[in-house]
Symmetry: C5
Subunit: 308 residues, 5 copies
């Protein structure tokens, strides 16, 4: 029989309990864990404490003698709509598993629920580890689903908006996806490394293989979101460029149509005493006609060049 | 002997039938399947029902104890010309295969036809699974053929059209290809995973190998369409850029040719009382000559710079 | 002893001949083959006829029971200079090989010649297959050589031409290379797949390995041509962009030099009754001097900005 | 028991000491080492001296008969904020390890400290080598952490600054990251090569595997920084392009709005004797009205085109 | 004992000499070799002569029965500063090695020198082959060192020069690096293929492994130069683009500041009889004031938009 506890995480309590149950799952917040001076009670905690207190925790499978210490990420979407990235820790020893976290992951509750409702068969340490890592991967799935729906929202506006703030949103979105894809990829390495050792060997053909495939899938899905975000950005930039070209063409046409007229009118606006054309009876009308002809010739030229 | 049915998919009927035939293929729409409360009759359906009801079904090989549940994509081109992506499900148990779908895939009918006409040798569950997956891959082949011919239609207009809507079509086409290439790639993973287990081991050197090669080919072909679409887009953008440069050059030449003339005519259009040149007999004609000379010098300069 | 024939491709003739020779090579055009109703005479031809009649033949190693059917590409350069891509078929059965083609590949004649001149040692079916595939790969080598020399011709003009049609040639060339590189890559997969089975196992350390290396080399060479074509295109686009920037700079300088002069002359061209400067004795000359000073200041500013 | 010395690195001293201790770690600066004419005392030093004196030392695992000579990089951040790259050398022989350096790496002191405080269990040559390489990798971790924080500083200004010097900083930063990522990647190859031989075989499942994972992680992290830097640069370029487009649009609108007005005023500024409109009573006001109407039509046109 | 000769390369001389020495190294220029009609004396030379006479020699390991024929590249820097690429050939038979070249590679002299000075232990054919291939790889190292120093020279000017010829130099440099990186990569395949066969098997853990690592390193280093050259080009293009944007902005500001002034002065330069403003006492000064106000408003607008 398994047992779940939150407060009684002293080594002697663990030892005592292990006599009566098959597997023990110790859950605790990092603060509680550190405040209880467990370093005196659970072996090897010096290294673990160091890992927990690191500034930028490294997602990794740490091997400490014959035991394993996992530093793994998970993601929570808050009511405000923001996505937050957390780190949790799994320490696996013979007979029990310790999980530490800043904020208890949602998916822990699902596992607890399944265990209580006997939806999960007979447990041992490795199977419990498997269920934790499997549910954690489902967390990454939901992350990529959320990203995908966000991207679809962003993409729907691509042909309408012409603003730097829209591009900024796209770029920020992509950077966020890139960062989280990288994090999930690191957690895939953890599972790969787990596979190379014989931890889940007793049931190799199912447990470790399933984990590998799931994490590969999660990583692949995030890569798909990332590439899609890249495509959206490249599309936006291409469209904006073509629009700018179109305006450029408009300016070119207007400017080259009107500049010769300006020159002509400038010439006959000069104040020289001796300018015979000015005294011609139809000088003004001839000039207007010449202007019209120049304009028509230019329009024909532009039509041929397919600029108009 | 094999047997195909659509309506009688109750577990007891299956059990009864399995006594008389070698392999049973149960086909049903998802609605029928769910409405008949099969969860009471076929084992493990709770997990399956959950997978079927998922919002964004994940293309994947699910392992449920010793049985396998496939979530696979297929594509149908409708009369309107639009391409629609569907999901179908394969559930493989000892002695029978259940396939579920929203809309019955075209390629199922081909297999049925072949079975009826005895074109396929003696069946067992694995061989039936092989035929379904093989025909499904042919569906992906026809998808990439259709994409290729669509792309050729689009590409034929590349040097004639100058519009944002054409670019939009290209970008949308590419995104569609990218999305479907990703989906087919996921289904390739399903077959890869299938290969790692011993399901088709009895005939390893033919069945699973053939599937692997076929799915790799389908994936490769879609990647080729994707790269070709990228090439078309990059070509279009390059050509549009060069055209814009050409117009820019035209504007540069016209503007720099005419601006000095505007300045000169502007100067002699000023109304100062004391402007000696205005009273020169040939002032106007000298000015016109100077304008012509400036223009000629500029043209020579541009010719040398190869701008003209 | 081996035997080569073109017309006598009936199954009974084949069976009869096989009693007297070690290996038989049957060559035929597809039309001849299909017209002779061989489907009655050679086994499995129904599947083969289907493959031969496909609209877009798929380059692939088809496994039909214990026999193999190859769909392979080859390339012919016509007198007109155009490159044409063909498909030929190899059907390998115990004791004989059937090759089908629209137009007899050049490299077949080389093999025939070598066989006649006894340059090739004792043949069997696998060795004959090896020679056909080896010579076919030499065809791909010559393809990449031709592409390379074409690219060198194109590249030599890169700094002189400024035209959309040149870019169009580059892009079309690249697309052609990309398409053929993809085709040769698919034929490399055929040889890879061939290697996985035990067809050439009797002489593993030489035959199949040599084929693998040769096809990898051909593929690698085409990839090199492709990347080189990409480099040429990117170079052309970069240079055209820099040229456009240079013209832009010229326009900027001319426009910003002359626009202030236009404004000044415009102001003193106004017809207000009360404009004191117009009546100044040296008003005109002072204005000219101011214009000159503004121009000089601007030129100094541009020099400092390194725009001039 | 292990022993650490700096000055007594003569071969006879080493031989003598090795009788009394299990493992010996000889540390020395390159200058000291070369000045003491050790080439007479330690075998194989001719090759080593050559490697040490190379202009551009190649990061590599050199195999010299049965011994190994490592050329490895490490990084030091100086007070001035600059990052400096150094090379150090590890020579592993039976029973002792020689490490040579220009400037003693910081992480050596950490290992010494751990050994003195007995934090490390019973040592042998391979375990000592392992600790050196492990701590060296921690040096690469801190490098990537520093890069990441530098990039975050740079990135925070991306939407505010519009200057070539900012782009220059970004590009220089990226080049530095690229260079160091390449160096760390080469050091990963050293550990990979180390894994292929049986040096750390005695404890294969822990030591060499841990090193491999650590170096792969360090390399992966630097690749992440590199890609992030690329993303920042691409973002900056995209935003600058969009800003330039926006200015272009502004110019287009102003120019095309005002140019027709210039032409009209130019026409009625001509000095022809016979220009009937000039004598109309409301000619001037009609002209102003026409100008206003043209401007309004243009504004409506621009609004429709979404340019305004 | 080994023996090196240049002129006596007749088969009977070789046979005779092989009785007295362990290993024989025959060096010859291709011309000498071909002129001496060795095809009568050394077996298999028909195929070899064909390979030597090929127009575009393919870098490759040719297997001719049980012997091996290498086509390998090497690079020589001439006094003029130009880099020249050559091909040399290695033919390995039992007991002797034939090397052919157009121009004797520099690194051959180094090996000869080492052999004469007994720096190399007891030789056999495989060890001699190993030394040749190893020294050849050092030639590639020096190639990448030279490229790197050339690139550093080019890069140092990146922020100062604004010219198409500089871009041209960068692009040509990159193309050269790309071409030679491709060639060295092909020679890496030769060593990879060599590794798969059992030629150097007698001493597998040292010789072939060392070659593999060395060639991978050389290839990796050239890839680094290539990527660095790409980075320099991309940087140059980005900087040139930003500079062009900056000039564009300058033009935009000048043009939009001055164009309204031109329109106003144009309006009051019209010659209508009835223009009341012209007769106002302070009309001219009011107009100048309006011009100043418009300019100031625009400057404020630009400041807000951060264009100024
Ligand atoms: Mg990535
Ligand atoms: Mg990616
Ligand atoms: Mg990708
Ligand atoms: Mg991409
Ligand atoms: Mg992709
Ligand atoms: Mg882009
Ligand atoms: Mg792709
Ligand atoms: Mg690709
Ligand atoms: Mg590509
Ligand atoms: Mg490709
Ligand atoms: Mg790209
Ligand atoms: Mg692009
Ligand atoms: Mg490529
Ligand atoms: Mg490239
Ligand atoms: Mg490449
Ligand atoms: Mg590419
Ligand atoms: Mg590009
Ligand atoms: Mg790299
Ligand atoms: Mg990278
Ligand atoms: Mg990446
Ligand atoms: Mg990327
Ligand atoms: Mg990129
Ligand atoms: Mg790149
Ligand atoms: Mg870019
Ligand atoms: Mg790009
Ligand atoms: Mg490359
Ligand atoms: Mg690269
Ligand atoms: Mg790279
Ligand atoms: Mg890169
Ligand atoms: Mg590349
Ligand atoms: Mg680029």
């Amino acid at each position: 029989m398994q047992y779940i506890t939150k407060d009684l995480i002293y080594q002697d309590y663990i030892d005592k309990t292990l006599d009566t149950v098959d597997v023990l799952w110790v859950m605790s917040s990092v603060e509680e864990f550190l405040s209880k001076k467990l370093d005196e009670k659970i072996n090897l905690t010096e290294k673990i404490v160091e890992l927990i207190n690191a500034d930028r925790p490294k997602i990794k499978l740490h091997r400490i003698n014959d035991d394993y210490f996992f530093v793994m990420p998970y993601f929570t979407r808050h009511h405000s709509g923001y996505l937050v990235e957390y780190i949790y820790y799994i320490y696996r020893e013979d007979g029990y598993i310790v999980t530490l976290y800043k904020e208890k992951p949602e998916f822990f509750k699902g596992i607890e629920h399944d265990i209580k409702n006997k939806k999960i068969g007979k447990l041992n340490v490795n199977k419990l580890l498997f269920y934790i890592l499997e549910e954690c991967c489902e967390n990454y799935y939901s992350l990529s689903d959320w990203f995908m729906s966000e991207l679809e929202k962003l993409e729907s506006k691509i042909y309408d908006v012409y603003s730097i703030s829209y591009l900024r949103n796209l770029l920020n979105f992509k950077n966020m996806v890139y960062r989280y894809a990288h994090i999930v990829n690191l957690s895939k390495y953890v599972v790969d490394d787990l596979n190379e050792i014989d931890m889940l060997a007793e049931s190799k053909d199912s447990l470790s293989m399933v984990l590998n495939e799931k994490y590969r899938d999660a990583s692949e899905r995030l890569r798909f979101v990332l590439e899609s975000a890249n495509n959206v950005i490249e599309s936006y930039v291409s469209i904006m460029d073509l629009k700018a070209n179109e305006q450029m063409r408009f300016l070119t046409i207007v400017a080259t149509l009107l500049m010769p007229l300006t020159v002509i009118s400038g010439i006959y606006g000069m104040n020289f005493n001796n300018m015979p054309e000015l005294r011609w009876r139809y000088g003004y009308f001839i000039t207007l006609a010449v202007m019209a002809i120049i304009t028509i010739i230019q329009i024909i030229y532009f039509k041929r060049k397919k600029w108009l």
